[in-house]
């Protein structure tokens, strides 16, 4: 069912579609970022598509993926059509140097918060976003924690934390001291 959607997108936006696949029944289109808004607009407004439901927006940092060559980030969109009962996944690869993408807030009310989370966790900027702040973390937070290079135990306390060493483990020093 969603295969038709895939075909339609490939037909209409052949220049911008980088690749497609349907792993485990999840139809996926990898898009060039410039075409994102146009494709989504088409998906939403075309009566054959009618993707009125923006399920999820997230991103993946692929820098630690073994044997992967390509742009570091991928922003992943999931759409769903309530009337046609089909789903599609769009992926937009982004280079680390230029992490910017058009916002979908004007098309879907819920997109803004999802985009804010992607900014918060991955540092992807969204152009024309009505509200572009961090969402889950505090404004003073440095860095974007879901990037693979963010340490698993990165402490960023706003006030000094009491150190409570565990029986056979000490907390790592916050920074290496210069002599």
């Amino acid at each position: 069912m969603s295969q038709q959607v895939l075909d339609q997108i490939v037909k209409r936006f052949s220049d911008s579609v980088l690749s497609t696949h349907a792993h485990r029944g999840d139809e996926t289109v990898v898009l060039h970022r410039n075409a994102l808004v146009a494709v989504v607009q088409f998906l939403r407004d075309d009566p054959q598509m009618a993707f009125n439901f923006c399920v999820d927006i997230t991103a993946v940092d692929l820098s630690a993926m073994p044997d992967y060559v390509g742009p570091r980030f991928e922003v992943v969109y999931h759409f769903h059509s309530l009337s046609h009962k089909h789903r599609i996944r769009l992926k937009v690869p982004l280079e680390e140097a230029d992490l910017e993408l058009d916002s979908l807030s004007h098309l879907y009310g819920g997109a803004n918060w999802f985009e804010r989370e992607v900014w918060d966790m991955f540092g992807v900027r969204f152009r024309n976003s009505p509200d572009h702040r961090r969402i889950l973390l505090y404004e003073e937070f440095v860095g974007h924690p879901l990037r693979k290079d963010y340490p698993q135990r990165g402490y960023q306390p706003l006030i000094d934390m009491p150190t409570l060493p565990r029986p056979d483990e000490e907390l790592p020093p916050l920074a290496s001291e210069d002599l």
């Binding site: 340490p151 135990r153 056979d168 790592p172 020093p173 290496s176 001291e177 210069d178 002599l179």
Partner: protein, 553 residues
């Protein structure tokens, strides 16, 4: 040049290449137990049986040579059934020992069973019991029940060390690895059999039950025990070094390492210097810091000027040596190259008499005129030329009584990573980081530049530092400009000023290193590099380290 097809992929190989090697080159994995690239082929485990077109029976891939027009299948149902049957057979008498077996986690038997069988046994016989926990020598324990009789250890003794202590005794299911009566397994390379044992039959007494392998984090580094510069993997857990394991480097040590190098980490952990000391001033302060003593040292050096001397450690990494040379020359001190003994045990395999890791590198950095050695230093000191002497490194081969020799020197300073007589008599002791706590490069006796990497954190934090950081502090206090902030930056400067290091960077050095004067180009042959990923040799396959442990990030 035979051309053959493996699983539909075509490949052309040199004559004499085995199917296994050809498959590895194609990235096709064939399970093995007894095959080891560094040893002769025994083909006794039968794990690598593959189907060859027109051959009535499956053939052992490790032994069968490629022939023109051959068609090999590694994943047919027949092969799968064969593999399952072989594993069922091998596991027939294997004890249910994983919980107490040190090999669990890096056990080839576990891997092969998980990847090629995962089916329950159909045989319900009583297991044959053999000797358990039987010492073969002072360093190694044998568990004969776990042994799958691949004879890798036997072949190692026969072919590599040529000592031949081990043999297979008895027949059939009672076969057992053992030493000749009256002999023990005790040669300078004996612990390598622990690495090459695909199962947990041979275990090292030193590492026994110490740590589960999947908890440890692995760091690729270089052994600093002698001038060979063997590649090692440092396995550590919670900031503690647990063991050294050899890492494959075709240009240096191949698959092996000597026992003394392997055990050398104990030397570092047992004798560390962790406190600064200054016996010259009656310090009213209860605690003096590394910074204080470094400043004290700087003052002494500046006041002494030309009447001062630096004694470098021939094991110190290039970066430290570079900074030390700059500093000494700016202060006007005389420079000597010290270090550990140069007449240690040596043999044809790996061990070298020079027990210092970086003599070649320091000489290269020092420039055309070679630095005078400890003999000259002793002479000069005896003549009373120096008021201040700064030793870098705790261990220097010297006279029996350093104290007597250095009687007339008013300030003896040591940047010490390890405790020694010299440290005991020194006036100023500045604790320094051991090699496993820092980055750097060393050059082995054959002129190969290789990286040492930080495996554990600096500890105690804020007290110990790498030599170059201490030297930088001394330089700054002495009024000199020192702007380096990392080993990488210093290495960049070395590269810029020394043509022998031209165009090298840490990244280009990579895992296997580069020879001096190679313009940063790789000189490793491709074939050897592919053999590096040989899954059959446990010490070289991707380590099964549990990266989950949060304190390792």
């Amino acid at each position: 040049m035979p051309t053959l097809k493996i699983d539909g992929q075509e490949i052309q190989v040199e004559k004499g290449t085995t199917i296994l090697q050809a498959a590895q080159r194609l990235g096709i994995r064939i399970p093995t137990f007894c095959y080891h690239p560094g040893l002769s082929i025994a083909a006794n485990c039968r794990m690598c049986l593959v189907e060859v077109a027109k051959s009535p029976k499956p053939m052992p891939a490790c032994h069968a040579q490629c022939a023109d027009g051959m068609e090999v299948f590694t994943n047919t149902q027949k092969v799968q059934e064969t593999q399952k049957a072989i594993l069922e057979f091998i596991l027939l008498n294997h004890p249910v020992d994983c919980p107490i077996c040190d090999q669990a986690g890096e056990c080839v038997l576990q891997d092969n069973y998980a990847d090629y069988s995962l089916s329950p046994s159909r045989l319900f016989t009583k297991k044959v019991h053999k000797a358990k926990a039987k010492p073969l020598g002072p360093k190694i324990i044998l568990d004969a029940e776990r042994c799958i009789l691949c004879t890798r250890c036997v072949r190692f003794g026969d072919e590599i060390t040529k000592t031949g202590e081990l043999r297979v005794m008895s027949r059939g299911e009672h076969s057992e690895i053992t030493t000749f009566p009256g002999k023990t397994l005790d040669n300078p390379y004996s612990l390598n059999v622990v690495d090459i044992c695909p199962v947990g039959a041979l275990t090292s007494i030193d590492f026994r039950f110490k740590r589960r392998v999947w908890f440890m984090s692995a760091t690729r580094s270089v052994c600093t025990e002698c001038a060979r510069g063997c590649n090692i993997r440092i396995d550590s857990f919670q900031n503690k070094i647990e063991r050294y394991v050899p890492n494959y480097n075709p240009k240096v040590n191949q698959w092996w390492i000597c026992d003394s190098g392997r055990m050398s980490h104990t030397r570092w952990t047992a004798n560390r210097v962790t406190e600064p000391r200054n016996t010259r001033t009656e310090s009213s302060k209860t605690a003096i810091s590394t910074r204080d003593v470094a400043d004290e040292m700087a003052k002494a050096l500046v006041t002494s000027g030309k009447a001062s001397a630096f004694v470098l450690d021939a094991s110190m990494p290039n970066e430290d040596a570079f900074v030390a040379l700059r500093l000494a020359r700016a202060v006007g001190s005389r420079l000597y190259l010290g270090g550990r003994a140069q007449n240690g045990p040596q043999d044809e395999l790996l061990r070298l008499a020079d027990r210092n890791a970086n003599r070649t590198g320091i000489s290269a950095i020092a420039g055309p005129s070679p630095l005078p050695g400890l003999a000259e230093f002793q002479k000069d000191v005896a003549s009373g030329a120096f008021k201040t002497v700064l030793f870098i490194g705790g261990e220097h081969e010297g006279p029996d009584k350093w104290a007597k020799l250095l009687e007339k020197v008013s300030v003896i300073g040591v940047l010490a990573d390890i405790r020694s007589d010299l440290v005991d008599i020194a006036h100023i002791v500045i604790p320094a980081a051991v090699p496993q706590m820092r980055e750097g490069t060393v050059v082995n006796s054959h002129g190969r530049v290789q990286r040492i990497r930080q495996a554990i954190r600096l500890e105690p934090a804020g007290v110990v530092f790498p030599y170059w950081r201490i030297l930088k502090r001394i330089a700054t206090t002495a009024g000199l400009e020192a702007t380096w902030n990392s080993e990488r930056a210093i290495f960049g400067e070395i590269v810029a000023s020394m043509p022998q290091f031209a165009e090298m960077t840490y990244d280009k050095l990579g895992d296997l290193g580069l020879p001096l004067g190679s313009n940063g180009l790789s000189d490793v042959d491709v074939d050897a590099a592919t053999r590096n990923i040989d899954p059959s040799a446990p010490q070289y396959r991707k380590t099964n380290i549990n990266s989950r442990m949060p304190w390792q990030h």
